[in-house]
């Protein structure tokens, strides 16, 4: 029984080994080390919305390993021709994309129309919830998004309180690759502004989750109340250098 008041109060809990000799076992040197183990045919989740908050270091490093092919990439978007997932597309490393919006990208369009690239379009909220569910041990859930459209084809539908819903199954990945602003060596992550987007839910849903961060700090430097992704979801972490953070649409006020 989890919450039964115990009669045996532990008077002195000494967590031996906890403070001492911190090993930083999650910390890897760089993107090269971080992506070790990713193989052809695997399913990856990649955080980001457009080019905002994408794990640019790991993507770039993956693109330098063109022998890793037939990847299924779950990512809200597909990058642009020469940045983000566009780099993997150009190398023909991606077999299938699961996204909500694609095609700021001519190469993407060419591969899709030629049938080289399989695309599974998923409503954005459903995609986010599928990742969150996968990372929360929820195998399926009902959502109203897409009811009555081709998205609902072949899916179970059900009425709750007079409204129609479709049953969607959750997603998990072999590797989830996310980008955070700050992280500590225990894998705790803090994202910045709207670069948060899909990163936290994809971090949850990774069998192995890789986090690249702008600032890697020691445990205790991040306020435990301000962490967005608890370290339990993160298996490898490294500090990336010289982030490009390309802007897709620079809009300014005069």
């Amino acid at each position: 029984m989890e919450h039964q008041p115990t009669l045996e109060l532990v008077q002195e809990v000494e967590l031996i080994g906890h403070n001492k000799k911190h090993k930083m076992k999650k910390v890897v040197k760089n993107a090269e080390e971080a992506i070790a183990g990713i193989e052809s045919g695997m399913t990856l989740m990649l955080g980001g919305f457009g080019l905002c908050g994408i794990p640019e270091k790991c993507i770039e490093t993956l693109s330098k390993k063109p022998k890793i092919t037939d990847l299924t990439c779950i990512s809200n978007n597909a990058g642009v021709d020469d940045f983000g997932l566009g780099l993997l597309l150009k190398n023909h490393q991606i077999k299938k994309m699961i996204s909500s919006y694609v095609g700021e990208n001519a190469e993407f369009e060419r591969q899709m129309l030629s049938g080289e690239l399989e695309v599974e379009l998923t409503p954005q909220g459903t995609l986010a919830e599928k990742c969150r569910a996968g990372g929360a041990g929820i195998p399926a859930f009902f959502t109203p998004a897409g009811y009555g459209t081709e998205i609902a084809e072949g899916k179970e539908t059900r009425e709750y309180k007079g409204k129609m819903y479709i049953l969607e199954e959750s997603l998990v990945s072999d590797y989830s690759i996310v980008k955070a602003w700050k992280g500590d060596t225990k894998g705790n992550l803090i994202f910045k502004a709207t670069a948060r987007n899909f990163n936290p839910v994809m971090a949850m849903a990774g069998t192995i989750t890789i986090a690249e961060v702008e600032h890697l700090v020691e445990p205790g430097e991040l306020d435990p109340n301000e962490i967005h992704t608890p370290g339990i979801f993160v298996h490898r972490i490294f500090e990336g250098k010289n982030y490009e953070k390309r802007i897709e649409q620079k809009t300014i006020s005069k």
Partner: protein, 217 residues
């Protein structure tokens, strides 16, 4: 006949104090320019922001701060960031009081098509399917007819649907219409536009009840 700015201006009149509003790309985005004085409206951007502010000055551009259209933006006092699942949680739970979006077609039963044209490159539905399936109040902002002069207010959408029975109002360059009981109900005419012109440009069933006022902008 209204221009895009005027359509946005007319839609802005629908806003109510305290509302949370999601504005789609295109004409809907322009609505932010016409929020009436004294009305406190909070803009939701589905990529993870409540309280979207204006575009930044050149020196304040932050690549980590964009809206759902991927444009650089700013925050407001009281803004808050969240992840994509929390963003669509609030959308799906109906916490966003108004969604404004564009469309290729709307029909008299409130169905909307705005994401796919068979035979053309499909870019994806983005958050549109979640938004239209969730919001109780959905206003479509669009031209009344397409470039070929054909009505976009139909008996039945011909394009693949984004959502069903969801559009509550349509504001076009010609008119303001309410969608209910399987028909378009004409509420207002654009300045200088006659009921006959609207009737002619509307393929779906159009209910004209009494004198139709000209909209005030």
């Amino acid at each position: 006949m209204l221009g895009k700015e005027e359509i946005a201006k007319r839609i802005a009149q629908e806003l109510q104090d305290g509302w949370y509003v999601n504005l789609g790309i295109g004409i809907p985005t322009l609505v932010a320019n016409y929020i009436p004085e004294g009305i406190d409206v909070t803009l939701q951007s589905e990529n993870g922001l409540l309280g979207m502010g204006p575009f930044p000055k050149e020196e304040n551009i932050d690549a980590d701060l964009i809206n759902a259209g991927k444009q650089t933006i700013t925050t407001m006092p009281g803004s808050v960031f969240f992840d994509s699942s929390d963003s669509f949680a609030m959308i799906r739970a109906g916490k966003v009081q108004l969604t404004v979006l564009g469309a290729m077609e709307v029909d008299q039963s409130g169905d909307i098509a705005n994401w796919k044209i068979p035979g053309k490159m499909v870019k994806g539905m983005g958050g549109a399917m979640d938004l239209v399936a969730s919001a109780e109040n959905i206003i479509v902002a669009m031209m009344h007819t397409n470039r070929a002069g054909e009505s976009k207010l139909l008996k039945k959408c011909s394009l693949p649907l984004t959502g069903v029975n969801c559009v509550t109002k349509v504001v076009t360059n010609l008119a303001v219409l309410e969608v209910k009981n399987g028909a378009f109900h004409l509420l207002e005419r654009a300045p200088g536009v006659t009921v006959e012109e609207i009737q002619k440009a509307t393929e779906g069933e159009l209910i004209i009840s009494g004198e139709i006022p000209e909209m005030k902008l």
